[in-house]
């Protein structure tokens, strides 16, 4: 064993998603490191690592809570910076839902590529490695000059579908053209049919007209997407699928951001269920929305941390969900 192996995993949790951190820590059989994180009266964030991280392999788990994205991001940067100054050997930022992932291109004149900015900020703060789940666009990996492990929720979704439905009754539906690849991949694994909804989107978070491509008649239509934000798209898509004769409609989404009136929209929709992973802290949303179900993604993340630390391949996780 090299000296590389002598150091230990230090798991540091940001304030945004302590439940996920606890689950990952439990899975790894270690404790979350003691830290002090607080806001001054002028809302500046202050952070102190409560135990030595010198020469340790540090993993910082920080999701971004809906509505508090900047708060979470700044805290993450400050934690990284604190660990860097405290002589950590390697700092891995575990960011289950990458913030600003949708602002990844200059789609209008002078539009900021905020995702690249975030990537640069993380590296400037001192991150040596990034672990994330279902990046909105895989190209974001190219914004970094450090390694990025983009984990997939797909294996967990596949297992969920196999456990709860007969794949032959299902049709996998992508709510937009951009997500077609993700949906076809699941359909291929399940060997089921595939459909696509084409939509016109005049402005962000506003949904225009929708057209279904493919057949969903008398089938369970499963919408697949990477994030559910205001849920406008999903709900409209579900209505279109119902109109086209789907037996029932459910949605499998990695990041349940669920901002604005998402919960009310969902409760009043014809979606029978929305299944999300716990990459984003959901708070009381599960109680408020009986249609919301959660798949635990922590085994995948914990396994990625273990493999990264031990220098093993992470590829296995792209096709298998650890039990």
């Amino acid at each position: 064993m090299s000296a590389e192996m002598a150091n230990e995993v230090k798991l540091i949790s940001g304030r945004s998603h302590p439940e996920l951190s606890d689950k990952i820590a439990k899975r790894l059989g270690i404790e979350v490191a003691r830290t002090i994180s607080l806001n001054y009266s002028n809302q500046e964030t202050s952070f102190t690592v409560g135990e030595s991280v010198r020469d340790e392999d540090v993993f910082i788990i920080q999701s971004t809570a809906t509505g508090d994205v900047n708060e979470g991001l700044m805290e993450l940067l400050i934690i990284i910076s604190a660990c860097r100054t405290a002589s950590a050997r390697r700092i891995t930022a575990v960011i289950p839902n990458f913030p600003y992932a949708r602002q990844d291109k200059k789609d209008k004149s002078r539009a900021p590529i905020s995702a690249r900015l975030v990537a640069n900020m993380l590296q400037t703060a001192g991150a040596n490695h990034i672990v994330t789940v279902d990046l909105h666009a895989s190209q974001i990996q190219g914004f970094f000059s450090v390694p990025v492990d983009n984990l997939y929720a797909e294996p967990s979704f596949l297992r969920y579908i196999r456990e709860n439905f007969n794949p032959e009754d299902c049709v996998i539906v992508s709510p937009d053209a951009g997500g077609a690849k993700r949906a076809t991949s699941i359909a291929d694994h399940l060997k089921t049919a595939f459909a696509l909804i084409h939509k016109e989107r005049p402005r962000p978070n506003v949904v225009g007209r929708m057209v279904l491509v493919g057949s969903v008649e008398d089938k369970v239509a499963i919408l697949v997407d990477d994030m559910a934000d205001t849920c406008g798209t999903l709900v409209k898509a579900a209505a279109v699928l119902k109109e086209n004769g789907a037996k029932s409609v459910l949605a499998l989404v990695t990041h349940g951001i669920l901002s604005g009136n998402a919960i009310e929209t969902l409760n009043g929709s014809c979606l029978s269920a929305l299944i999300v992973t716990n990459t984003v802290p959901l708070g009381d949303k599960v109680e408020r929305c009986p249609k919301l179900r959660v798949i635990d993604i922590s085994p995948t993340i914990a396994e990625a941390i273990r493999r990264t630390h031990n220098g093993e391949s992470v590829s296995y996780l792209f096709t298998h969900a650890p039990v």
Binding site: S41, Q43, T64, L73, S81, T85, L117, T230
Partner: protein, 501 residues
């Protein structure tokens, strides 16, 4: 100005408007909003290609959102092929986190400097950085403007009898800022320090060791002299009268320690036995001051009139000065007997030991004014508050770089009024951060007569309207001038000079 665009961040549209007014131009168009998930959205609505771009952003109650917005605006301008992007930050966020205060704490200010660089900033303009060493965090040039000339001018024009006033620092770390203003106005200065009541079984060598570790500042230098002086006597047998003598005969600031101030004031030589800290500018009050001193000395040990001493102590419970017969709270009861032993060693030495974060901080120069606050409010702990310098019947300017929490300001104001018998108290700071109900508490404090701040940090209008003591000085001319001079490549040095009028 041709080829220049000034963008306003959402924190300070009013200040940016004034800056632009000064420059005779309109702020550039940008749409700033948030997506429903809380991510910041920026749209630059005008061409920035090959322009000289200035982005003005101050602090706000949602400081992290403000920072992200600034970074995204800069990034968007950079992506839009701007020629040069300058960040104008009247209040530099996270400037108090400019050093490792605890083990494994973050130097967030340095990180922020790096983040600005990464976003695409080529130049930074800011006002009164909490620690001027922070300029070294940047790879790009930093113009750290000073509000002091503005404040000094305001004092000269608005404070009656300002020539008789005393400038007071409310903590040891801010002394340098205070001496600078005192020098500019040619005023006396004083200092208030707060520390926990604690046992004083420390020896002189311990104290010297610690003082040696501290960067020699004029005041500290002479304080260490005093300690040496005091401890050369019998260990505990120094009577009150003796120690009073020792204090007054030892100048707290000698000419070597403060050469600039010694020069233009010849009357000092006639008054050498008295400390220059309390030297009176006119002959008549000199005489009265000496009378007072004599009185005190005649009364000897049992007459404990603290007015005559250079060093005044007060008891601070729950952030307020209490009378000497106030019942002692539980925690200080144990060491109450210790407090009587050797007041000099106690007050000064222990203020260098505490609060603990000092230990890593190096020079006390960048000392956070907040460091003392967490234990100030603890009802169980009694503090010793010490006033160095004579403020009797004078106007007092308590000066620091920012007002965030009210505790130390109110404690200092009460000390100079109730213990030092000051006539009027002005609280003066550049950055009016006013966390929580700070402004309301300071407004309610009877010992504070005015709060003088600048508009570097946006102050909520409804708050300002209810605070009759609040005076807001306008920084926009200073910033506008810095922008103009930067654009045309002129020197900004004149902006640091005091305007004498």
């Amino acid at each position: 100005m041709r080829g220049t665009l000034i963008f306003a961040g959402s924190s300070c549209p009013a200040l940016t408007g004034k800056i632009c007014e000064n420059l005779g131009m309109a702020p550039a168009d940008a749409e700033l909003s948030q997506f429903s998930n809380g991510e910041t959205s920026v749209r630059i609505l005008t061409s920035v290609r090959e322009k000289d771009v200035f982005v003005v952003q101050s602090g706000s109650p949602k400081i992290n959102d403000t920072i992200m917005e600034l970074l995204i605006m800069i990034s968007a301008c950079k992506g839009g092929s701007a020629n040069k992007i300058t960040a104008v930050l009247p209040y530099f966020p996270y400037s108090r986190q400019s050093k490792k205060k605890s083990h494994r704490g973050a130097i967030t200010a340095r990180m922020l400097a790096n983040l600005l660089g990464v976003a695409g900033v080529k130049h930074v303009i800011t006002v009164d950085l909490h620690a001027s060493q922070m300029q070294g965090f940047f790879k790009c040039p930093v113009d750290n403007l000073h509000a002091e000339p503005l404040i000094a001018r305001w004092i000269r024009q608005n404070v009656p009898n300002w020539r008789e006033a005393v400038v007071v620092s409310k903590n040891a770390g801010g002394t340098k800022r205070v001496t600078s203003l005192a020098d500019a106005l040619k005023l006396n200065f004083g200092m208030v320090t707060t520390d926990k009541k604690r046992g004083s079984n420390m020896t002189a060598s311990m104290i010297m060791n610690h003082l040696d570790g501290i960067e020699r500042q004029p005041l500290l230098d002479t304080l260490s002299n005093q300690v040496r002086n005091n401890s050369s006597g019998p260990e505990n047998g120094v009577s009150a009268a003796d120690s009073g003598q020792a204090r007054t005969s030892q100048p707290v600031t000698d000419s070597q320690a403060s050469p600039r101030r010694a020069n233009g004031l010849p009357q000092r030589t006639s008054n050498n036995s008295r400390s220059p800290l309390a030297r009176a500018p006119v002959a008549s009050s000199q005489a009265s001051a000496i009378d007072e001193l004599d009185e005190a000395e005649q009364d000897g040990a049992e007459y404990n009139d603290q007015r005559a001493h250079e060093v005044t102590h007060g008891r601070l419970v729950q952030g307020h000065i209490v009378p000497d017969d106030f019942p002692s709270p539980a925690m200080s009861a144990a060491d109450a007997s210790m407090t009587e032993e050797d007041p000099m060693t106690m007050s000064h030495a222990s203020s260098f030991f505490a609060p603990t974060p000092h230990a890593l901080g190096g020079s006390g120069d960048a000392e956070s004014s907040d460091d003392e606050e967490p234990f100030l409010k603890n009802p169980k702990i009694e503090h010793m508050i010490t006033l160095v310098g004579d403020v009797k019947n004078r106007t007092v300017f308590i000066v620091d770089d920012m007002i965030d929490k009210p505790g130390s300001w109110i404690a200092a104001a009460e000390t100079v009024v109730k213990r030092g018998y000051a006539k009027k108290v002005y609280c003066i700071a550049t950055h009016a951060v006013f966390g929580a109900d700070c402004l309301e508490q300071m407004q309610a404090c009877d010992c504070i007569d005015a709060i003088v701040v600048t508009n570097s940090y946006p102050i909520r209008e409804d708050k300002a309207r209810n605070a009759s003591k609040l005076v807001i000085l306008d920084l926009s001319f200073l910033l506008a001038e810095a922008i103009r001079r930067n654009h045309y490549g002129e020197s900004i040095s004149p902006l640091f000079q005091h305007i004498l009028d």
